[in-house]
Amino acid sequence: MSKGSSRRTFLTTGLAAVPTAAITSRINPAFSQTASAQPAGLQYRVLGRTGLKVTTVGFGCMITSDPAVIQKAADLGINYFDTARGYQGGNNEKMVGAALKAKRKSIVLSSKTPSGTKEGALADLDESLRQLQTDYLDIWYLHGRSKAEEISDGFLEAQRIAKKAGKIRFSGVSTHSGMAEVIRTMIAKKADLDVVLTSYNFSMDPSIEESIESAAKAGLGVVAMKVMAGGFRRVREGDKLRETLSREGAMLAALKWVIRNENIHTTIPSITDMEQLEENMRAMTLPFDESDKQLLASQLDLIGPLYCRSCGQCRDSCAKGLPVSDILRYLSYAEGYGQFRLAREEYLRLPQEILQQRCALCPECTVNCPKGVHVAERLRVAQEMLA
């Protein structure tokens, strides 16, 4: 998929892939053999070279308050559960451990360390095991890395020691931004790293598909997180648009959209209650269909005026010479992908004469976006946020 593809095309491509997934699957055929819907309403895939058989819907425990929801999920057959040392000051691991103690052998359990040093990571691991009341983690992630150099030698050494000691079975890296770079680095270090936990949702830049495909082809297990967050993070709590985005079925449609990509082996949506759990379970049996496409498309329409499709038709149309699509792209780094620092760095690299311009001072905007992006308004936001 080219980088120039629009998000709508990205969405539509996802839909088109559904009926022919078995034939045109873009994933390594060795893995696709394991993807199948189970009679019990569960769908499994193999988590890359780990060989672990995981349900396509897993459970992100980070904001779950009651262990009853986690216990019910395990009873219903969900078998991938994710937490981290840092969640709720370590209290989340404690709750997850208590909830899953009786099911430990039948589930895949992952946690994360934020520490890049060998000593720090290993100390975190021991504390994670204590809190989770287990002797081993199935997957141990280095938490939240976005650059190649952040995948530290200290962690790589720590995970080798931990594997040898039987404290972890597999290791990986979680990444919320800079996914392409992280995945490239992980592929290069394939002797050490087994699983990538990456942000992935319908509103993201289509180029993410290429990175995910390359990860799966290289044998990495691929776990998706923030399966809906991209749609929500742009909209503040209390905004009317947020109500629309969170209407019934939207989360399920977004989750189905993620799962329709067979390069994604499992997902870890946050689940806080039984109702949400039951809704998410349905993503494993219901196909991503026309109504889902319309639901997600309507969300793209809602956020459409905000996001540049990088068609380039606005080039040289600003009377003040602003590189419109570049600035809107930087804004999307901050708003869409949470990379505020990157957005500001990129923005501040623009020439001084550009940085000094203020759209608010222009009587009329000469840029007319054919896709309907409210350019003047968006540029003003960028100038206020990033300057």
Partner: protein
């Protein structure tokens, strides 16, 4: 009418006060690192809002957003090789700030009277005061309590407002209560969406919960829906109305309503000897 003349010295004092308050509003509650001897600021100040909190803490941001996170300001202080990262988060209200503290405190360690509640450990200090949740993280691994205590004292002093925990936590009966187990649940109490938000507390026989609805009428409605969901096995003469129910994952439940409050116990495997405690629970709810 005779004019009132401000003496020049008073004018200067007024100007100074206005200037000082402006500086204060710029710096907010963040301390000046140099206020603790030997320490200095390391790098620029930090400021985050809901839109870009992910940039600072990735997925952990979700844990703040569900507690009504509004904004964060931060500073890093250093002394030789030692660093203390200070982050002050403004939450939607004091209850959320206190809830954030409850969710993140180390329940194995005692809490201290800092603001509404706080904790100073070897490498970490947290406390909540008014609508602010404050975190200090020290590196490298060693006992940093002396420095943490100094910064905590400075920050607590700079935050005006409420220092008492929400009164609601005193509604839970103290007998058989597991200490430091009260928690604010911002979404779906007991994992039930119908119980939007509230408090839970651990007892040696199960878990207590407490939810406030907008009005007694809406609480009546929620009770009706809870009965449908859980199945009423017996009526309870507690509060305005009550019932016993069961759930595969919540075990036995005692649920009662008092005005706009819905409360009770869950995870009951043995229901003996809790009737008096349930009645006391209802009586404590104001």
């Amino acid at each position: 009418m005779k004019g009132f003349r401000i003496p020049p010295i008073s004018l200067l004092i007024c100007c100074f006060i206005v200037f000082a308050s402006l500086i204060g509003s710029v710096l907010g509650q963040l301390p000046d690192c140099a206020q603790v001897e030997g320490w200095s600021q390391d790098g620029p100040l930090r400021a985050y809002e809901p839109d870009n909190l992910f940039d600072y803490m990735n997925g952990n941001a979700e844990g703040y957003l569900i507690y009504g996170f509004q904004k964060m300001q931060g500073i890093t202080c250093k002394c030789g090789e030692d660093t203390i990262v200070i982050d002050i988060s403004e939450m939607a209200d004091p209850e959320y700030a206190y809830g954030m503290f409850l969710a993140n405190r180390d329940s194995r360690q005692p809490t201290q009277d800092i603001g509404m509640g706080g904790q100073i450990l070897e490498r970490k200090a947290t406390f909540a005061k008014d609508r602010y949740y404050v975190e200090l993280a020290a590196n490298p691994a060693k006992d940093h309590r002396a420095s943490l205590e100094k910064y905590v004292a400075l920050i607590e002093k700079s935050i005006a407002g409420r220092s008492e925990p929400p009164a609601v936590i005193n509604f839970f009966p103290t007998a058989r209560l597991v200490s430091d187990s009260v928690r604010l649940v911002p979404q779906s109490v007991l994992g039930l969406r119908i119980l939007k938000s509230g408090y839970t507390a651990q007892y040696d026989f199960g878990k207590a919960f407490l939810v406030r609805e907008a009005s007694p009428e809406s609480a009546v409605n929620v009770m009706t829906r809870l009965k449908e969901r859980l199945g009423q096995t017996a009526e309870l003469q507690i509060g305005d109305e009550g019932f016993k129910g069961t759930d595969k994952y919540l075990d036995g439940l005692w649920v009662f309503r008092k005005g706009a409050w819905i409360a009770g116990f869950a995870n009951l495997k043995d229901e003996t000897d809790i009737a008096a405690l349930a009645k006391e629970f209802a009586e404590r709810i104001e």
